[in-house]
């Protein structure tokens, strides 16, 4: 198990946003996290990455307890996420953005006496990642000038550059128009086999194409975890999404 | 000895109440619109000069000039909001800071042109001058007036926010603007009205301040620092917060200058930095 959460609980006052969530992610996993709006999916991701501290429970990465570790340290240990809403560097080019991530990873970002151009390997690695995602042609334009779908891909590029063991994708296809989502599908399909991936998605096409297991989150708690087909047939899931009396 | 402490507390409280009236508008608009309006102090200055003008040129009684000071500042703020501020809501903190500081400079220059650089004294009605003696301690009548007026304003604010529908709309918009908009609240109108009310209160505060701290073209910039301290210490968007912050600052300033005059405002600034480090969102701030 590369990632494990044990009974994660979180409430804001009387509002319970996470109830006793325990999941396990094996290496190479392709798990989907689904649930109605407000179920607490993004909150759960925030809890795993350390943006939020749980009230109780533990989070273990590769067997090590990271419940008290900061977000940046978790990334350094291999736990990375992408954001549902693009959280990019608008004025930097994708090349610069990804190079920054690589430099931070190699702990070379603080070397203010070395010119950026001297970090050849970082720049080339960054270019390679962007090329794999089909962004080579726009890699040197400011990120804000890219199409929305391309920006979503930069979001993933930033995450991949950290060389994660566990990758949490928060609705990677959110807001991407249909004609741009093909590239996105390809990218998700070709993610390195050894990375454990947990992705939040509303787009059922992606869920059924890529997920080997689906976790259904409702009102902060895990309703069930099963294969996509089992989840599709489960009456409780139907009820949650469609309401009672909708057969 | 006790008498001195009481007087210091009393004077400090009066000064604090004045600061509250000056600042409450800014904390609401900051919490509501996230717009750093450093020209807020200039609205205070405007209110002060309106009072001076009405009293000296037109012989109006002091009390009657107060609502006019409120109205004048509110009206000018509406115009400024429509013409300028609206375009800066997304412009970033630095731009908002610099634009509104530029506005203060222009206002100060305007005041210098029309009124000169000197202090503007006014003559209060006789019942506000002098003092009242209680238990052997003399309390200034004007300061009592100030405290009473501020408490009335606080009560009105509290009532409006907590008991009226409009108040509920303001609270909703401060709490979560996007959801409020989604629920159908005309957020733009709420902004405009709240901004006008807040600036009007600043104008009123400026008029009330003449007797305590004087009025000259540098008022806008000078009191800006005090107002900012009240708002940051109290917490953006929190009226009880700015009440608390104003009281603390008022008493702290008066007490500090009384006990350790050589240090001047040093203790105030130290308190500001210390509080912000422990609670960056202010004593009663959200988030």
């Amino acid at each position: 198990m590369v990632l494990r959460t044990e009974s994660i609980c979180k409430s804001f006052g009387s509002l319970e946003v996470a109830r006793d969530i325990s999941i396990e992610l094996p290496q190479g996993a392709r798990y989907a996290l689904i649930g109605p709006n407000g179920a607490g999916k993004t909150t759960f991701i925030n809890l795993i990455t350390g943006q939020l501290r749980p009230n109780s429970g533990r989070i273990l990465l590769d067997g090590q307890d990271i419940t008290a570790t900061g977000t940046a340290e978790r990334v350094r240990r291999g736990l990375t996420r992408t954001f549902q809403i693009n959280t990019l560097f608008p004025d930097l080019t994708p090349l610069e953005s990804v190079t920054l991530v690589v430099c931070e990873r190699e702990k070379k970002a603080g070397q203010f006496w070395r010119s950026l151009a001297s970090h050849r390997e970082a720049i080339e690695e960054s270019h390679a990642i962007l090329s794999q995602l089909g962004l080579a042609e726009v890699a040197m334009k400011p990120t804000r000038q890219l199409a929305y779908g391309q920006q979503r891909l930069v979001e993933i590029a930033l995450a991949l550059a950290t060389r994660p063991k566990v990758l949490l994708l928060d609705e990677p296809a959110a807001g991407v128009p249909k004609d741009e989502s093909a590239m996105l599908f390809e990218v998700v399909a070709s993610l390195p086999r050894d990375i454990a991936v947990l992705f939040i998605e509303h787009d059922m096409e992606i869920v059924f194409s890529f997920a080997s297991q689906v976790i259904v989150l409702v009102a902060g708690g895990v309703l069930l975890q099963a294969t996509p087909d089992e989840v599709k047939e489960d009456p409780r899931v139907r009820e949650v999404y469609l309401g009672r009396g909708h057969g | 000895m006790i008498g001195n402490i009481v007087i210091v507390l009393f004077d400090g409280l009066a000064f604090g109440m004045l600061l509250f009236v000056l600042s409450v508008g800014l904390t609401v608009t900051l919490g509501l619109m996230n717009f750093i309006n450093l020209a807020h102090g200039a609205f205070g200055m405007l209110g002060g000069y309106v009072t001076v003008l009405l009293m000296r040129q037109y012989g109006w009684p002091f009390l009657l000039t107060l609502p006019m000071a409120f109205l004048a500042a509110a009206l000018v703020s509406v115009v400024l909001e429509r013409v300028f501020f609206r375009r800066l809501y997304r412009a970033g903190e630095l731009n908002q800071v610099l634009f509104t500081i530029g506005l203060v400079f222009v206002a100060a220059a305007g005041a210098t042109y029309f009124f000169g650089t000197g202090q503007q004294p006014i003559v209060l009605p006789s019942w506000l001058r002098g003092s009242v003696e209680v238990a052997g301690i003399r309390f200034g009548s004007y300061r009592i007036f100030l405290i009473v007026v501020s408490l009335i304003i606080t009560a009105l604010l509290f009532f409006t926010l907590e008991r009226t529908r409009f108040g509920a709309k303001i609270r909703a918009a401060v709490d979560n603007q996007r959801v409020a908009q989604a629920l159908g609240l005309n957020v733009e109108r709420i902004f405009a009205i709240t901004f006008a009310l807040g600036s009007g209160l600043a104008g009123l505060g400026g008029a009330l301040a003449i007797e305590i701290v004087g009025l000259d073209p540098s008022f806008g910039l000078h009191f800006l620092v005090y107002v900012l301290i009240v708002v940051s210490v109290g917490g953006l968007g929190s009226i009880p917060g700015s009440f608390l912050g104003a009281a603390l600052l008022g008493i702290g300033d008066v007490a500090g200058k009384y006990l350790v005059p050589e240090l001047g405002s040093f203790l105030i600034y130290l308190l500001l930095v210390a509080i912000l480090l422990i609670r960056p969102t202010g004593l009663l701030g959200k988030r």
Binding site: V75, L95, R114, L116, A117, A161 | V97
Partner: protein, 331 residues
């Protein structure tokens, strides 16, 4: 133009980055132009050296404001610390050697910067502005209170700066003063240029662009902020020291809010995040002030206020930003 006709960029990524950081002809011309006052405005050399000193101060603020995105209204704190370090060294301890004075000023201001940086990284937005403002005001009040050390409102007397390297005397016309200030400005500029063109500079821009993303890429951004704040404070201290050394006076004004606010205005004028914007902004601001205050000192505020409002509304990227946009539009 040429680039847009090529569909795939033929340029290698490393070369592209290197090209962005290369010295352009404009930069070379700019620095050559700084030598003009020697030939064409010899009567204004003292003013020129003041401009160079203020430009250096503005440069230090650009590092934190333009590159790291920290809005500071209290940077005069470090400028003043540097100025007073040299002033006290000379007036109290009789030490007037200029180069060592600069290093000591940088050290004192840098230490203060390092200490404050721990406070700075804990706050954001308005609270950050207020903390910088508060710290600046605090230092001013402290300077006022410690009048036995700082000379209070009258300032320090008895300051004399020795000859540079024991040879170059500070002459009345300002030849030495301007050469000295210009060389220090240039050297510090080189340092700033190296910093902003490094991976560290990239990290700073990342912080400015989206601080929320920084921990998510594994960045210890608070440490980066502490480093840049310290370096910026040290450079500001050097600028302050230069002021004392070239004028042989120092008063509390060096710690004033006015100075902190002026330098931010210069940056918005010239354009933040460009290094040259700081210098251009300082030149324009000081020359404008010199001219306008001469015409009518009372309404100096009016013009600066209007200028600020105009620049923010119509040229938020400052003069250099506006120029850059013009150049890009022609391509």
């Amino acid at each position: 133009m040429l680039q847009s006709q090529v569909s795939t960029p033929a340029m290698q990524p490393v070369a592209w980055i290197r090209r962005r950081n290369r010295w352009t002809i404009f930069e070379v011309l700019f620095w050559l132009a700084t030598l003009l006052p020697f030939c064409f405005f010899p009567a204004y050399l003292n003013l020129a050296s003041q401009i160079a000193i203020t430009a250096l101060f503005a440069l230090s603020v650009d590092l934190v404001l333009g590159y790291a995105g920290i809005v500071t209204l209290g940077h005069a704190m470090f400028f003043g610390l540097g100025a007073f370090t040299v002033g006290i060294l000379s007036s109290r301890y009789g030490w007037g050697e200029p180069i060592s004075g600069l290093f000591l000023a940088a050290l004192v201001a840098g230490l203060a910067g390092f200490a404050s940086s721990f406070l700075i990284v804990r706050v954001q937005h308005l609270a950050l502005i207020m903390v910088t403002l508060g710290l600046g005001l605090l230092t001013f009040e402290l300077g006022n209170a410690l009048s036995w050390l700082t000379g209070g409102t009258d300032g320090l007397t008895g300051i004399s700066t020795w000859n540079i390297f024991g040879y170059f005397r500070f002459d009345l016309w300002g030849y030495t003063a301007y050469s000295y200030s210009l060389i220090v400005l240039f050297l510090c500029f080189l340092l700033c240029r190296v910093i902003v063109n490094s991976s560290f500079g990239l990290a700073l821009r990342g912080i400015r662009e989206n601080v929320k993303r920084m921990p998510a890429i594994g960045s210890d951004y608070r440490w980066h902020l502490r480093v840049v704040y310290t370096i910026s404070a040290a450079i500001a201290g050097v600028a302050g020291a230069l002021l004392t050394q070239t004028t042989n006076t120092v008063t509390l004004e060096v710690l004033s809010f006015q100075r902190s606010a002026d330098v931010v205005v210069m940056l918005i004028l010239g354009g933040t995040g460009r290094l040259y914007g700081a210098i251009v902004g300082a030149v324009i601001f000081l020359i404008a002030r010199d001219q306008l205050a001469g015409i009518n000192p009372q309404y100096w505020f009016l013009w600066i206020g209007l200028l600020l409002m105009f620049v923010v509304m119509f040229m938020p990227k400052g003069i250099l930003g506006g120029l850059a946009r013009l150049v890009r539009r022609e391509e």
